[in-house]
Amino acid sequence: MSVIHHLNDDLLVSYAAGALSEGWSIAVATHLALCPDCRRRAAVADAVGGAMLDDLDAAPSEEKSWQAVRARLTSGSESGKSRSTGRPQTLPQPLRDYVGGDLDGVRWQALGKGASQLRIKTADRATQVRLLRIPAGKPVPEHTHGGRELTLVLTGSFRDGDTIFARGDIEDADASLTHQPIATPEADCICLAVTDAPLRFSSWIVRVVQPILGI
């Protein structure tokens, strides 16, 4: 099964440029781990950065800079071995590091109606990052956004209108969209959700309890 719903170019370019904040970048990097197509586009965006670096006007380097760096060069070099566990994992890196392990270790926080979440801490105050678990066949409460929302499916799938999103697929929703994702009936759906403002739920009852539940 390959990914059908990909990253928008503006996200890929901002990520490659280093201009995308940490919260959004987690969703981008996790999607890239699952999507060779987007990795090819990301490589083009990196090459743009390389060409821009080549293009910068540069004064000649100073001799003392070279001497300073030369003095810091040691003979040891880094090898490419990463500490891969070898064990099958559901959450790809870098997400697993943020969660603190794979899904089996997650301590879910109930959201009501069987849904639950795990908040993910980052240094980025402009976004909210969390895992959401939606029970099979159940909806995420209907909501609109103060801004953008990226939802990346990790297990199971959800339907939003006529569109199905499965593992690796990313839904990119903006403030104008009121949508109702519903987990497909076969299995619970776990996804990564990144928003740039707290969600505003359409129902006043949910709005009242929203601050209490912390969603």
Binding site: V13, A47, D55, S77, T85, P88, A123
Partner: protein
Amino acid sequence: MTALPDGQADKSMTELLLAVGRSQDIDAFETLFRYYAPRIKAYMSRGGGSASAEELMQETMVAVWKKAALYDASKGAASTWIFSIARNLRIDAYRRERRPEFDPNDPAFVPDEAPAADVAMAAFQDAGRVQRALLSLPADQATVLKMSYFEDQSQSAIAAALDLPLGTVKSRMRLAFDKLRALIGGDPS
């Protein structure tokens, strides 16, 4: 701006970087340093942060020396790889955020289908071709790209600085990237 003649200069940069990775060739590294150090310093001084551009340049070049054995020429040109090291150090220094990145050795990582990737990679290893593509962009699109790459500005910060709706900034980035991809290759679709 001086475009490299058909990527020849960058081709030799790539060979120099490979020599550093293979045998810690100090002469090759010095040539790389003379070329990249001033550019990296210029890049670091555009971020607007408080860290010293000189210090960040030195850190980048020391990292290039240490990590050179990890450089894989089939994934991109030397300047692309060095840019990514500089960019990550800048994020760390100016924003104090981590930069999340995928790990190709992770068991959950979905690998490339090798032949397609080889074909696609060839074109944008040619840094001269990428530079020429950049020069062909309309000014308004080039501005938005430069603000992203050089000034570390988020889409909303660019929108505010240029007094444009956020949607316009996004669409300029997409148009610019569409055009670059068409000129450089790398996307089969």
